[in-house]
C-alpha cells in the first residue's frame, strides 16, 4: 500500500526528515513513536502535501502511484486521510455542509456519482450515532467552539464518512479523556480491514492499548531508528527515547 523510500524533507530549508524509509502493507496498522521534534508531524504533512514542506530527496507511493506529484485534494480522493493533531475551525460552514462537500468532491474526482442530500444525511446520522456525537452538533460551524475532545471526535466522524484507504492519525489521543479515547479508538478500529492501512503517530504508548498496532517504529532525528512488534512500544514506555536520541 504505502511505500516510503529514503525520504528527505525540509521546512524553511531546515532538514527534518533525513532518509526515512517505511513500508506499510494493506491490512496493517503501524505506529510511529518518537520524541518531540523527531519529524512525526512533518511526515504526516509531507504525505498529505502541505505547502512549505519540501521534499528534497526520495519518494512516497501509494499502491505504486507517486503520491508526492499530487495536490492535497487529489491525494484525499485516492484515499489518504490525515486526522489532524489540531483540527481547524471553519467559521460559517456547518459541519454537515463541509463533510458533504468534501465527500462529493472526492467522489467526483474518482468518477463516482455524488451522494444526494437524503443519502448523505442518512450516512452522517448513522456514523454520528456510532461515535456518540450529538447530531445537532453537525449543524454548527465545523469545530467552532468545540472542545478538544469534540474536535477529535469530529475528525473520526469525517474519517468514518469519507471512508479513506490510508489513514494517518497525528496525535489523535492528545486532549482526550479516557472515555473519549475509547470512543475514538472504537471508531478507528471499526475502519480496520484488509484493504486499509493506518499510520498512528503518537507520543505515548497509551493510545496503542486501544489501537493495537502490527508494527511499531521509532522515529528519531528524521529517520526510523528502530522497528519491532507491539512490545517495542512497551519498552519505550519503560525506557524512554534516550538511547535513540543518543544514537541519532
Amino acid at each position: 500500500m504505502l511505500s516510503i523510500s529514503n525520504l528527505h524533507a525540509s521546512v524553511e530549508d531546515k532538514p527534518i526528515l533525513k532518509g526515512l524509509s517505511l513500508e506499510i502493507p494493506a491490512g496493517e496498522v503501524h505506529a510511529i513513536l518518537g520524541p518531540n521534534g523527531a519529524g512525526k508531524s512533518t511526515l504526516s504533512y509531507v504525505l498529505t502535501g502541505r505547502e512549505g514542506y519540501e521534499v528534497t530527496q526520495g519518494g512516497a507511493t501509494l499502491d505504486g502511484e507517486d503520491l508526492l506529484a499530487l495536490d492535497p485534494s487529489e491525494r484525499a480522493a485516492r484515499g489518504v486521510f490525515l486526522s489532524f493533531q489540531y483540527p481547524l475551525e471553519i467559521p460559517g460552514v456547518p459541519a454537515l455542509t463541509f463533510i458533504r462537500t468534501a465527500l462529493n468532491a472526492q467522489r467526483k474526482a474518482r468518477g463516482e456519482a455524488e451522494l444526494s442530500a437524503p443519502e448523505f444525511l442518512k450516512l452522517a446520522r448513522e456514523k454520528a450515532q456510532s461515535l456518540k456525537i450529538d447530531f445537532d452538533m453537525l449543524k454548527r460551524p465545523l469545530n467552532v467552539g468545540f472542545s478538544g475532545g469534540e474536535k477529535k471526535r469530529m475528525e473520526i466522524l469525517q474519517m468514518a464518512i469519507l471512508s479513506p484507504r490510508f489513514l494517518i492519525l497525528d496525535e489523535t489521543d492528545s486532549g482526550l479523556d479516557i472515555d473519549a479515547l475509547k470512543i475514538v479508538a472504537d471508531g478507528v478500529n471499526a475502519l480496520r480491514g484488509p484493504d486499509r492501512a493506518m499510520l498512528v503517530i503518537t507520543h505515548y504508548q497509551r493510545l496503542l492499548d486501544y489501537i493495537r498496532p502490527d508494527r511499531v517504529h521509532v522515529l528519531a532525528d528524521g529517520r526510523i531508528a528502530a522497528s519491532g512488534g507491539p512490545e517495542l512500544a512497551l519498552e519505550l514506555e519503560r525506557e524512554g527515547y534516550d538511547k535513540y536520541a543518543r544514537a541519532a
Binding site: T48, G49, R50, E51, D71, P72, S73, R75, A76, A77, F81, L82, F84, P87, L88, E89, I90, P91, G92, V93, F98, I99, T101, A102, L103, A105, Q106, A109, P141, Q158, L162
Partner: protein, 388 residues
C-alpha cells in the same frame, strides 16, 4: 422633459472628488469630465428579472430613472403610492452631494412616495434598471412607514447597458414602532458609474435593518445616512462587497445617535480580487447626551490578489460619557491552514477557496431576517464567488 442633461457643465464642477474627504477614494469629478445627456425613457415594461424576483407582492420598476411599471389597481391595500409635489429639497445636501444632484436633475415628477399604512405589513420590491449607453439618469424615491408598520424592501440594481451614470436617492421615514428591513443587490455594468444614497429617519422605538450586496462598477458607491433618535430604536447597517476585474465598490455610512438608549450594529465584509477595489467608510457619531448608546461596528475584508485593494476608514466619534462602543477592522488573506485542511478532506484548491470565502461573507448573510431574501442573498454571493 425639463432637462436634456443629466449633468450640465455647472454640475460637473459640483461633483464630489478626491479633495472631498468623504469621497477621496471614490472620486467622481476626475471621472466625469463632460456633460452627460439624459437616458431615454423605455417605451415598454421591463421584462421580469432581478435578484429578488418573486419575493415581494408589490413590485415597482424604475428604468433609466423613470417609473416603468407598478401594480396600480392591484396595489396592496397596505400601501399607498403617490407623487409628492414638494421636493422638500435635500436636507442632507451638504453631506450627500449626489442626492442633491438627483433632487435637482431628476427628470419627471419630483418625488415618488410609497407609504406603508399604520400597523400594516408589506413586502416591496424596487427594481432600478439601467438600460442606457453613455447617458445618465437620476431617481428620487421615498418610503414612509407609518406607526407600527412593518416592511421588507428589496432593491435590485440591474445594469443592462454600458458607460451609463445611475444616481438613485432614497429616503426612508420610520414612525414610532415601525420596522423596516432593506436588502439591496447591485449588479451594475463594469463600465458604469453608480451611486445610491439613502437617508434614514427613525422615530423612537423604530427598527431599521439593511444589508447591501454590492458587486461594484467602474465607480460604485452606496451611502447611507441614518439619524438615530435613541429611545429604544435599533439600527443594523450591514453590507457585503465583492469586487473583481477592475470594479470599485464603496460602502459609506454615517449613523448619528442623537439621544439616549439607541443601539447600532454594523457588520461589513468585503472580498477584493483581480484589480478590484473595495472602500469602507463607516462613521458612528454619538452626540452629547446620547448616553446608554450601544454601537458596534465591524469591517473585515479579504484580499485575494496582489493587485486588489481595500481602503477602510472606521470612525467612532463619541461625545457622550456613558456609552458602549466598539469597532473592529481587519484586512487579510485566506487562512492557509484552513485551506490545507479543506483540501486534505478532498476539496480541490479552487473549491476550497470558494467555500472559505463564502463562509467568510456568510456571517453577514446569516443576519438577514427575511428568509427568502436571505437565500437569494446567499445565491447572489455564491454565484459571484464561483462556489457550488
Amino acid at each position: 422633459m425639463s432637462a436634456a442633461f443629466a449633468l450640465t457643465d455647472l454640475d460637473l464642477a459640483r461633483l464630489p472628488g478626491r479633495r472631498d474627504e468623504d469621497w477621496r477614494w471614490s472620486d467622481l469629478r476626475g471621472l466625469i469630465r463632460q456633460p452627460v445627456e439624459v437616458s431615454p425613457e423605455l417605451d415598454r415594461p421591463a421584462a421580469p428579472g432581478g435578484a429578488f424576483i418573486g419575493l415581494a407582492r408589490d413590485e415597482f420598476v424604475f428604468a433609466n430613472g423613470q417609473l416603468n411599471d407598478w401594480p396600480q389597481e392591484a396595489l396592496s391595500p397596505a400601501l399607498a403610492f403617490h407623487l409628492h409635489d414638494d421636493p422638500g429639497a435635500a436636507r442632507m445636501a451638504d453631506v450627500m452631494p449626489m442626492a442633491q444632484l438627483a433632487a435637482e436633475r431628476h427628470v419627471g415628477p419630483p418625488l415618488h412616495i410609497l407609504t406603508v399604512r399604520a400597523g400594516e405589513t408589506a413586502a416591496i420590491r424596487f427594481r432600478f434598471i439601467s438600460r442606457a449607453t453613455g447617458t445618465g439618469h437620476h431617481l428620487r424615491l421615498g418610503v414612509m412607514l407609518e406607526a407600527g408598520a412593518q416592511a421588507v424592501v428589496l432593491e435590485s440594481y440591474e445594469g443592462q447597458g454600458e458607460d451609463y451614470l445611475a444616481n438613485v436617492a432614497l429616503e426612508f421615514y420610520l414612525a414610532d414602532g415601525a420596522r423596516l428591513e432593506r436588502i439591496a443587490a447591485a449588479d451594475e455594468a463594469e463600465s458604469a458609474i453608480s451611486v445610491s444614497s439613502a437617508e434614514v429617519h427613525l422615530k423612537p422605538g423604530a427598527a431599521f435593518a439593511q444589508t447591501l450586496l454590492v458587486g461594484g462598477a467602474k465607480r460604485q458607491r452606496f451611502e447611507t445616512q441614518i439619524s438615530h433618535p435613541g429611545g429604544g430604536a435599533d439600527v443594523r447597517a450591514d453590507g457585503v462587497y465583492l469586487v473583481g476585474g477592475r470594479r470599485h465598490a464603496d460602502l459609506t455610512s454615517v449613523v448619528t445617535h442623537e439621544a439616549v438608549d439607541g443601539t447600532t450594529s454594523q457588520l461589513i465584509k468585503g472580498v477584493a480580487r483581480d484589480q478590484g477595489r473595495g472602500v469602507f467608510q463607516g462613521r458612528i457619531v454619538v452626540a452629547e447626551g446620547a448616553d446608554r448608546t450601544d454601537a458596534r461596528m465591524g469591517h473585515h475584508a479579504l484580499i485575494l490578489s496582489d493587485r486588489a485593494e481595500v481602503d477602510a476608514k472606521p470612525e467612532l466619534l463619541i461625545f457622550a460619557d456613558d456609552v458602549q462602543c466598539a469597532h473592529g477592522n481587519t484586512v487579510g488573506r485566506l487562512d492557509e491552514d484552513a485551506l490545507f485542511y479543506a483540501m486534505q478532506r478532498g476539496l480541490p484548491p479552487e473549491a476550497a477557496r470558494a467555500l472559505l470565502t463564502e463562509a467568510f461573507v456568510g456571517e453577514v448573510i446569516d443576519r438577514v431576517e427575511h428568509e427568502g431574501a436571505r437565500e437569494a442573498a446567499r445565491t447572489w454571493v455564491s454565484e459571484r464567488l464561483g462556489g457550488g
